[in-house]
């Protein structure tokens, strides 16, 4: 059953939404024991919303006709604030934090009748590619529990594979929507920077963070994107683009031109991965798209360095506000300001958070700022212009989403931080350039999913959905 069919059945009173939601919550609890996809399941809120929906159906409320998510279960990455529901961004320093307001994306989901089922597990503040850097739950891959879901929106992607009639809200700073979607075999769309309001998102990197949907089909993610996008005066970087319905995209790629990024198929890419991506490209050709190679050296070769300098610099300033006052973790008030802040921060931030705070603080310090932080911002300018040149020739660019199949936890343990960061090689540059990108599941290798990354020009989400729809189940 498609989400659209499901919504029609709820509106026509063919499904009891309260009973249905109770079942969904039970299923989530069961899944959580086995796969750890949630930090918090918001049972009370979900049932309250379900009861309101039931009432409006019973009263034949005319307003329900146009509701785009009526009764659909929506999970929320833990970094996105939901009023009254613990929102930690996967960090102990925010343990117990129950926001007093809804993020704009959440308010819009609620307005359209989406039922918030809980907060999904993730790397602390989004700091990771495998969801293992968490203060709480580490999600397990839906195809093999010994393996990672990817990260940092790992719980969101794993749950999207396992739960029907559900769409997830994820968040990406450097690839955290598409990479876990690839590892879990689902569609994940990271929108253009600014298309979705960041108001109420617990910041990682201000010039990089994007909220976006993860779901089973291109259509599912298009429905949620249509709901959450649009200008928001509460976010000064929010796009002024007119509100658009993304779900009416053409389900054909005939006549479209895709560029195959040459450098993305060399080096460290596992053979099983490039083989499946090549099959995917063949399929696009079979369906009427043209595909030819393009060289884009800068994004692949220098993407990681550029991204990590910008991202850690911004993260180190954003995390300065977390100091054991006003909300979140706190300690007994002892010592001076600096002693107290240092104590709370040292005890509650995880290892990767500390590493990134230090890297970012260093990159912004007098004497190093020009060589690292400002330099990365300049490379970003060149990178954007290289992409823009490519989009004069192509509707979208193709690469693998991740250079490897989902790794085992035992393999991840052995990685150095640099090796860990290199897992993001395909995804960081579209994020640095604020470009929309979509993970498309293109096949399986040894029972594990492989994802193809489609990157488009700013605000060209529909073209990506068009190309992606070719691979819908």
């Amino acid at each position: 059953m498609t989400i659209q069919n499901f919504i029609s059945q709820i509106k026509n009173n063919e499904i009891d939404i309260v009973e249905h939601t109770q079942k969904v919550i039970e299923e989530c609890k069961k899944l959580n024991q086995e796969y750890r996809y949630f930090n918090t399941i918001s049972e009370e809120l979900a049932l309250k919303q379900a009861n309101e929906i039931k009432k409006s159906v019973k009263n034949d409320d005319k307003n329900i006709k146009n509701k785009k998510l009526f009764g659909v279960a929506i999970s929320v990455k833990d970094a996105i604030c939901v009023k009254g529901v613990e929102s930690t961004a996967g960090s102990r320093i925010l343990e117990g934090y129950k926001p007093l307001f809804d993020a704009t994306a959440i308010a819009k989901v609620k307005e359209e009748g989406g039922i918030i089922i809980g907060k999904t597990s993730q790397d602390e503040f989004g700091f990771g590619a495998f969801s293992v850097n968490s203060g709480f739950k580490i999600p397990k891959n839906p195809f093999d529990k010994e393996r990672s879901c990817g990260g940092s929106s790992g719980g969101a992607a794993g749950l999207s594979q396992k739960l029907d009639n559900h769409i997830a809200l994820g968040e990406s700073t450097g690839g955290s929507i598409v990479e876990p979607s690839s590892f879990c075999g689902v569609f994940g769309l990271c929108p253009t920077y600014g298309l979705v309001s960041r108001y109420g998102l617990i910041d990682f990197g201000n010039s990089l963070d994007k909220i976006g949907p993860i779901g089973k089909t291109a259509e599912d993610v298009s429905i949620l994107l249509g709901v959450i996008s649009g200008h928001d005066p509460c976010d000064s970087t929010s796009s002024h683009k007119e509100k658009e319905d993304y779900s009416n995209f053409r389900k054909s790629c005939k006549g479209m031109k895709v560029g195959i990024i040459k450098e993305a198929f060399t080096g460290e890419v596992q053979e099983e991965v490039s083989e499946k991506i090549n099959h995917g490209i063949d399929k696009l050709r079979d369906e009427g798209a043209e595909a030819e190679e393009i060289s884009l050296e800068l994004p692949i070769k220098y993407g990681i360095a550029t991204y990590y300098m910008i991202a850690t610099s911004e993260a180190s300033t954003n995390l300065a506000k977390l100091c054991g006052m006003r909300y979140g973790a706190s300690e007994k008030l002892e010592g001076s300001f600096n002693e107290y802040f240092t104590k709370v921060r040292s005890e509650n931030f995880g290892t990767e958070a500390k590493r990134r705070i230090i890297l970012g603080t260093f990159a912004r310090m007098a004497g190093y700022r020009d060589a690292f932080y400002i330099k990365a911002m300049k490379v970003r300018t060149i990178m954007i212009s290289e992409y823009k040149k490519a989009f004069k020739r192509f509707d979208a660019l193709v690469s693998p989403t991740a250079p490897m199949l989902p790794p085992k936890f035992s393999e991840i343990e052995k990685l150095t931080p640099l090796q860990h960061y290199l897992a993001d090689v395909m995804t960081v540059s579209p994020n640095v350039a604020g470009l929309p990108h979509l993970n498309v599941p293109v096949g399986y290798s040894n029972g594990l999913p492989v994802g193809m990354l489609l990157t488009g020009d700013h605000l060209q989400e529909k073209k990506l959905l068009q190309l992606g729809s070719v691979f819908e189940r």
């Binding site: 007093l100 010039s207 990089l208 220098y302 909300y327 490379v379």
Partner: protein
């Protein structure tokens, strides 16, 4: 690019973090490796290139200067134990 123990400890202090001995020993070679890797950015010619602080061009974002509802004092104070007489209570300043 050399980062030594003294510099690492200084950066941590600036960021209000106290690293344990174990963390310092672990971080030092990792930071060296990472900063060396990041230093490859110097190979790119960026003369006369302006930095992009945002990935898309943005104009000043202004809004009307209107009064609107905001968080009540009770709500604002509701998330912490450290409060007194309607104020947040912090650690000793001097």
């Amino acid at each position: 690019m050399e980062i030594d123990r003294k510099l690492l400890e200084h950066v941590a202090e600036v960021a209000r973090l106290k690293l344990t001995e174990k963390e310092t020993e672990r971080f030092l070679p990792q930071m060296k490796e990472l900063l060396e890797y990041f230093s490859q950015l110097k190979d790119i010619d960026t003369d006369n290139i302006k930095p992009s602080f945002q990935p898309v061009e943005m104009k000043n974002a202004m809004r009307e200067d209107n009064e609107k509802e905001c968080l009540s004092q009770d709500d604002a104070l509701s998330l912490t134990e450290h409060k007194k007489d309607g104020y947040f209570k912090g650690p000793r300043a001097v």
